[in-house]
Symmetry: C2
Subunit: 425 residues, 2 copies
Amino acid sequence: MVKVDLSGAKPFFTAAGPDYAAAAAAYKTFAEKTGLGADFTGWEGMPQRIKDTELDAIVAAAEKIRSRSQALVAIGIGGSYLGAKGAIELLKPNPGPGDPKVFFMGNTLSVDAINDTIAALGDMDFDVNVISKSGTTLEPAVSFRIFRELLIKKYGDKADDHIFATTDARRGVLKGLADKNGWTSFVVPDDVGGRFSVLSAVGLLPMAVAGIDVRRVIDAAIAEFKALDVGGPENPAWQYAAARQHLYGKGYTVEILGCYEPSFRFMAEWWKQLYGESEGKDHKGIFPASVEFTADLHSMGQYIQQGPRMLMESIVRFTESRTSFPFPVEEEDADGLNYLAGRDLSEICRVAADAVREAHVSGGVPNIVIEIPKRDEEGFAAMVCFFELACSISGYMSQVNPFDQPGVEAYKKNMFRMLGKPGAK
Amino acid sequence: MVKVDLSGAKPFFTAAGPDYAAAAAAYKTFAEKTGLGADFTGWEGMPQRIKDTELDAIVAAAEKIRSRSQALVAIGIGGSYLGAKGAIELLKPNPGPGDPKVFFMGNTLSVDAINDTIAALGDMDFDVNVISKSGTTLEPAVSFRIFRELLIKKYGDKADDHIFATTDARRGVLKGLADKNGWTSFVVPDDVGGRFSVLSAVGLLPMAVAGIDVRRVIDAAIAEFKALDVGGPENPAWQYAAARQHLYGKGYTVEILGCYEPSFRFMAEWWKQLYGESEGKDHKGIFPASVEFTADLHSMGQYIQQGPRMLMESIVRFTESRTSFPFPVEEEDADGLNYLAGRDLSEICRVAADAVREAHVSGGVPNIVIEIPKRDEEGFAAMVCFFELACSISGYMSQVNPFDQPGVEAYKKNMFRMLGKPGAK
């Protein structure tokens, strides 16, 4: 289970500390489904539902793709790709010999990026997983038309067998196309918004294709949501939500999420959507940013240490490394590093993390540590459940609807009008 | 040459507009080398110096590596890797068949990341480029000991021939090692800080190994610095510096740098160091963040459109795409996209960018567009020169030393003490 360590934030709290009564009220609103956007809180029960319904089919589809293709083109934008991409980079940074490469498309209008992907596919065998609730979002629709045409060119009549659609259960353009052409289909649930959908077929199919054990992910998620279903300030999701809202109230307007694993980079992008889109509305919301440590101590470190005191820092720490490497001794010691010899690199990294925390807290940056046992399927699932629940509590604490995204329509409306889409104005 | 379009920022200016008199004073301070940190402004004359001295040797070393190795391990942190990594991802997102893979190490203490790189190297032939002014920064020193040992295991007596050191011209641990072992060496200039060093051997050698034409880069940089050497509000570097400082003064405390090319992602990391480390001091400085469009319109888009009105947005636009792709017609038009058929994707993307700008400006986000002719060697060089010069002007306008980074020492000091380094306290 996830643990939160607030000791580096406490020096910045007022005497009363974070408002756990407000966290309790927010949690009640969430659990009793009485708040804004309550129709979109189905993600908490989703792992169990997926296990009871679609999981076997998802795994079977992934096995089919793995056995015949060297690549999957996963087409989706926002919540329809960030979670899967984050998970794959985190858990499979070096694909194994049998693992297809997963290309994420449908998230760009760059002609060069699309052509680069087509070039990288070369003559590989590939499948397409198109992920869109409606089928009308421009970026994935544009990519899907292009990659579907490539499939038809390559496989002719058999192309439909290479298309997997993750879409609405009943309605929409993509659902209509899937039914008509007999594509294997999976469901984007009605009661789950895109940024909360990584543990549905949306995230699970690309993850399974990449070689992640999604059964382990789902079992761990069921257990973690159960473990998090406790009322009280001992709940780590309450702690994180209450602490960051308390700090926000004191003028810490930017939160940087950091990790000492480079493979975490895209999970931070997933987190940015989760928190930015849930809380950034009504001219409110903590600005979510990310750093990779120790790399960015030599880029953003100066700003963190001595810039404006408006940053809070949340660090994801994996308690246990996957591998080990005892630092070698060198007879000459020309580089003067023999004082580290024999110690494992993972220990050196842990000491560095402690040193950074001390430096940043002394410099005036509140620090929250989120401890995850291991960088594996269970750790990934626990982290997702934790961040999703904490986000809901935090959003309700700041009096917004954490589950809508009305501001995303503005550019789309302009774009469709300027592109001359029939009926757009 | 780079062009700046401030039309999306103007609605947010006061009647007097940006303070070009202050920009003029800052530029004068920079040009006459009378300001804080003037000893570190050698980067403006560096392209010509490199051309006159090291460029041939850099190209020759790169050719040697390219002809015999499938990989280069470039070891460096902060300014010793961000520029080269940004350039390679921007200009060579799909390596060609003869291009060695460049692994960036020395920027992490993650044991898993180091082991992953060793595994990915497998039995490839490889060279090492270690990049460190002193040789004592912990992360690159740790990686260098490890990868040097791998070279010795693999090549025995010939290992020294596979090591290229980019380091101080005269002093330091690494310089001593290089001289003693006869490694090919290049210079980290004394009058250039890490974040301004991409157009020296620091950035050029890895870029050249990856297949970037660094002679074109250097010729373009010489021309761009010359073009930017004009006093007056028509100087794009003045415009950018003055506009962002004006907006900062009005409460826009976060700047998001965005681009519609996914391959730009790491250039934004380079930019974050350049601006964050130059300006983030004395409890001042705009917080630098980045977004990838259109992808992040579906993650950070909500926050940008409706969150707190503290964001300004700067967009790097490449006027011309490298490739083209006319959007295909589909007889059935089941997805309803035939209204786009026949138009090139690059045009669709341009319209989307205009639509986004209109939406964000209407929503209360000042917008600055930085236009670069093309995503090629010349475009890269022009962008680097522009951002470096504008950063110096902007830093002097906000009364800080744009060329130091005193805050980076805090964590290092803690770390060496906690690791028990001899003499550390």
